[in-house]
Amino acid sequence: MSLVPPVLAGDRLALARLLTQLENETPEGLQDFSALYSRTGHAHRVGITGAPGTGKSALVNRLAMELRSQADPPQIGILAVDPSSPFTGGAILGDRIRMRDLSGDPGVFIRSMANRGALGGLARTSSNLVAALDAAGFGIIFIETVGSGQAEVDIATTAHTVVVLDAPGMGDSIQALKAGVLEIADIVVVNKSDLPGAKTTLAALRATLGLAPAARNRDSESAWTPPLLLTSATTGEGIPKLAGAIREHRRVLEQSGEWMIRERERVEQEVGRLLRERLAENFLRAQPDGLYEEALRKVLAREASPGTVVEQLVEGAVAAA
């Protein structure tokens, strides 16, 4: 039974079921997703990333409350990703603990997601779940990544606007941020401004950012300089300002044409990945039994390097054992 009509009619249970189907990549789910796809493209996808313990969930909670209290509030979807155990595949998804203020608001939908082994800070299927929330009519979708430090930058292609969080007392996290995550920031936030040391962290980040604008924005059409903001999810300080900066970033993206450039990057990456997966799958399925195993055996026995056996497989030069 298709979940498309109830999802479009605003049935939250149907939406929840569809999200599960997409997470499990079931054939019915993917079919419904195709039917819904023409409805996507309206939501502002806002990524929230930063090291563990910087207060991502609490900040999303406050931001959503702020946006919902404004005139003509948007419907808000939240996708919160936490890590799966690499050993058992199980996960504890605890982001809702910090989002209890949003409970009971019918204009907010929160979904927790395990990353199921993906390394980029999101799950493999996160982007599809975001698109489903988009099709279901959520105007702003917050995507909270796994607590991350350096290279978890999938969020850069999944979101239109990336908010990178830091907090006082994170020590060398500033150093860690320098190389990767800070480069994808459209907005930089020092959260926990109520704690001592926040001003020091702010000054250190200002010095880092002052050396060169984030690479992603330096080359863009938008001439957007990532603002550096101080917030406290506990007291609410700086939250209206952050909400304003997120809205302003969307306006600048749209006006400059950068919105479409980012959409194109995302589509290119998604289609490219699916194409690679599909081709590899088809290729392996078409191989005679045992050939792939034989290729693996050769590498294990150090008779050939991984690159060589792939070359041989593609050229049809591995002999079946």
Binding site: T26, I92, R100, G104
Partner: protein
Amino acid sequence: MAQPKIRVLIAKPGLDGHDRGAKIIARALRDAGMEVIYTGLRQTPEMIAEAALQEDVDIVGLSILSGAHLTLVPRVMELLKQQGQQRVRVMLGGIIPDDDRPKLESMGVAGVFGPGTSTAAIVEAFSRAVEPQVLRATEG
């Protein structure tokens, strides 16, 4: 297609502040490969039902040590039903007098676990409770 995971919501309704048991269960279920949404202390039945809906869980595990189980459990079950979530199994842990068990079971509670229950027994009960459902999801 990815292997479906058993999704569980662990919640503490009511006002008692003892969440050690709930956390131990959450951890044991995680170690058994389940995806456990942990919502923390002092949840109302409404909050629990809403979270169960948004998260599309297979099982709701309630931890109650306050003695209010005969009020809280039927309320959660009623809300789940109102939302069309009859398929969700409800499990209960905590300080539950033996005399109350038949009542809880007749309400449809799938399992009641008191002090001293081994985590292995709980994991097994959770797995068994959803087996047919997860299989159905796999078959589509």
